[in-house]
Amino acid sequence: MKKIEVVRGEYYDSVTLMLVAKEIKRINGVVDAVLNMATEANIDIMKAAGFEIKAGFLSPDDLLIGIDYRKDEIDKIFETARSYLASPPWKKKEDDTEYTPGTLEGALAVLRDANLALISLPGRFAAAEAMKALKNGLNVMLYSDNVATEDEIKLKHYADRNDLIVMGPDCGTAVINGKGLGFSNVCPEGPVGIVAASGTGLQEVMVQLSRRGIGVKHGIGTGGRDVKECVGGISFLKGIRELSDDPEISLIIAVGKPPDPEVKERILNSLKKTGKDCVICFMGDDCGKDEDRVHYSAELEECAVVAEAILNGKEVSAARDKLRAEYASLSGWRPIEEVQGKYVRGLFTGGTLCYEAQYIAQSYINPIYSNAPLRKEFKLENSLKPIGHSFIDYGEDEFTQGRLHPMIDPSFRAEQLKEQSEDNSVAVVLFDVVLGYGSAENPSQEVAEAIGAVKREIKPVYVAYVCGTAGDPQDLAKQISLLEDAGVIVCESNARAALLASSLISRRER
């Protein structure tokens, strides 16, 4: 039977709720368990899942526990859920739990020289806490999304006037003095500084640099909306200025989706004024011609290759040519077995990786549908029912309401991967696995298991990219071999994986 309970006036963050749901689902007889704060969106989700919600007035501060239990005594399961909330079973019993401050001010009393607030609270609360942090002289990294544009502008103007920076909203990655904040990979330190309006974009560039032995001192995230006209690139420009002033940084990289034209102009001028070598990577953008110390690239790996050439005193065009040659030979690869089906399906956890993959693949296959497409006309009507060639970003809002981000919990993407694999019209399945701090403990495992469970006579070709470094906690080598053991072709960059996957089909079409 399906039943809902309302718990009023208790707050739990979404991660805790989802982990509790996961634990409850392990119980024999539990068909489904959903725990959500009663926002309008979540109420709809629960109703869609078949739960009847009768309680009169619900506010987003009330907790809904929905349980579908095959056996009798469903109330026992609710009791268990509540006890898990009070005492999470996955938490190690700490010996003598010191006091955890309940407010920012309380925290400041404990860490008096704090200089950054890392905020990942629900969007509707995040702006106020960010402002409080700024007023207390702290810089802010705002991981939260769903922050209103007016609030972002207010925050950034205040920060600007007070020599502080706001990284975000929707900033998932930053690296300050070699230390990772949010989702980040373990990389060496070095003479490169990066300003990025994209999280996994920053990660991929850092990973590609790291594989070439090049270290990064600072990777400043700004959030995607910073480079829109309404915000004006405040944080982006601030980042460039500081990297420019830093004597330990000799090369600056700017990464992101193409900014609004006026902001792009300001960014270019600012980079030129630094007098340092710069690589500009606005993905999918019309590349300018390289001038003097400013180089352009539309792709993330290429951006790292250009940077490598500059830092090693080699010729940039030669380096680019070499990369293209490697790509060319990659696109000539052909599998031994028969390939059944005609479509490529991409399943991504990194938004920018999905975007870049589309950009690269579009030369080989067309059209590519997506929930975050390169062009509006290719938007999927139903992201759970992809058609033709489709590349889907499972980190998009529509999937993360009431669900953990796929980089943290890979299970949903793995389910989708299995489902799509069993579609006979699918020839190639392309996916990313992102490692590093913040990501799941063993992401390749879930995908490998899903692949193993696929019921289809001739399975699709699996192509993947593992975005990680040797220093990451998940053990890069192990993550790659888990996939290879499952028959996946693992490529060395997001670009190569997209290239290989799409060229497989395009050659067949010829």
Partner: protein, 418 residues
């Protein structure tokens, strides 16, 4: 510093300056202002007979029998429901009462006075544990004990206190509270040290005033056998001190927190004489053997005045032994106190906690901080059985419900926005 902070500073300083002392004992009807003939005072915000919970109904029944206004419990309840008795909050008459908090005309009360302002606080004598009026019991045993307290305990104490006051000017309660915080008390749920100090302070005067009175030893035994004897004058001290703050324009400091077993109510220094109420919390506490969650009555008593004053649950770090009641560790006790600092105006230099390096207790609850941080005050309290007279079912930490604070914040904003 903005206006609200300035106002809160004023309110806070007044509270800290307060010097509550026992100046005597007397009959409720003679000393408590505006005490009507057929009037009974109760804990918490105003409430009608129809909405009262078990313990309060039982206590009122007992009081009516004690006063002789009816002969049987059924007749007593009939009388109460007919509207012939006026029920008013203790707080409306400068008084406070733990649990049901019932004060009837012929009950003896402590008279506590705040030295600087002259504001007074009144509270009855604590009966002890078990089947007692304040838990809603009304059996013959209860009435007999109340009679003994009026006929024996009261005169002895009254004379002794009179003698003490003659010799010393007043019995300094603030000093006793301060000392007992250094002896493992927190002054709401643990009063053993304070009770001992009180007895020690009074005994010489009791002896002097009652030479040859054979009741003296019974009186001392009675007090010594009741670990919570100090709670009542302690509450009166808190009441008189908080009353001495008075109205402070623009202050968001909380001057009353009280529960009546059905509702929870607060008042603020910046809004005169207005209750903000909501449903009282259902205590989720460690239960004594034999009782279940279904037996627990909603939170009841004026004893929340202790936390409002800066002790009780707020000083839990001073009373690590109490955590046995809450099933936690001494670190938990410390954490509760530390949490309360986040919602208070200041730290109380007079009430310090040894284990926190003699840091002053969190004092002066700031309504705005409560609403902003989502941290509501915690109390360390007993829980009553919801059926009258069945006594205490457990004790532990209870968190106050948020609605009353939100209502108060709405009113505050209405009043002070231009």
């Amino acid at each position: 510093m903005n206006d609200i902070d300035k106002a809160n500073s004023i309110a806070f300083e007044r509270l800290l300056k307060a010097e509550p002392q026992i100046v005597g004992l007397g009959m409720a009807k003679e000393f408590i202002p505006n005490f009507g003939e057929k009037m009974i005072l109760h804990a918490g915000p105003p409430i009608t007979w129809e909405r009262m919970s078990g313990p309060m109904i039982g206590a009122i029944t007992g009081a009516i029998l004690y006063e002789g206004w009816a002969e049987t419990p059924e007749k007593a309840r009939a009388l109460a429901s007919k509207g012939e008795i006026t029920f008013e909050p203790c707080h409306h008459h400068n008084s406070v009462g733990p649990m049901a908090g019932i004060i009837s005309p012929n009950l003896p009360v402590w008279v506590v006075e705040e030295k600087n302002s002259g504001r007074r606080g009144y509270a009855t004598l604590n009966e002890g544990l078990g089947k007692v009026l304040r838990m809603g019991a009304f059996s013959e045993e209860v009435i007999e004990r109340l009679n003994w307290m009026r006929e024996v305990l009261y005169p002895v104490l009254r004379n002794g206190v009179r003698k003490y006051v003659e010799d010393n000017g007043g019995l300094n309660l603030k000093s006793l509270i301060s000392q007992s915080l250094h002896m493992g008390d927190e002054l709401h749920n643990r009063n053993r040290a304070a009770t001992s100090l009180l007895i020690r302070t009074l005994v010489p005067s009791l002896i002097d005033a009652e030479r040859g009175n054979h009741n003296l030893s019974r009186v001392v035994k009675f007090m010594a056998g009741n670990d919570h004897f100090f709670l009542n004058p302690g509450m009166a001290a808190a009441k008189a001190s908080l009353d001495s703050v008075g109205y402070v324009e623009g202050s968001s400091m909380i001057t009353i927190m009280a529960r009546n077993g059905t509702d929870f109510g607060i008042q603020i220094a910046g809004i005169e004489n207005e209750w903000f109420t909501c449903q009282a919390a259902l205590p989720d506490v460690l239960l004594f053997p034999g009782f279940t969650k279904d037996d627990v009555n909603r939170d009841i008593g004026d004893s929340a005045i202790m936390e409002t004053y800066g002790v009780g649950g707020f000083a839990l770090a001073a009373a690590p032994a109490i955590v046995q009641f809450v099933g936690g560790t001494p670190q938990d006790a410390v954490n509760y106190t530390k949490e309360m600092y986040e919602i208070c105006v200041g730290e109380n230099k007079h009430f310090t906690i040894p284990v926190l390096n003699f840091r002053g207790t969190p004092t002066g609850i700031d309504l705005i901080k409560v609403v902003e941080t989502g941290i509501t005050p915690i109390l360390d309290t007993g829980a009553a059985h919801k059926e009258a007279g069945k006594g205490q079912v457990g004790a532990g930490i209870v968190r106050m419900p948020s609605e009353a604070f939100v209502k108060a914040a709405e009113a505050f904003v209405e009043k002070y926005s231009k």
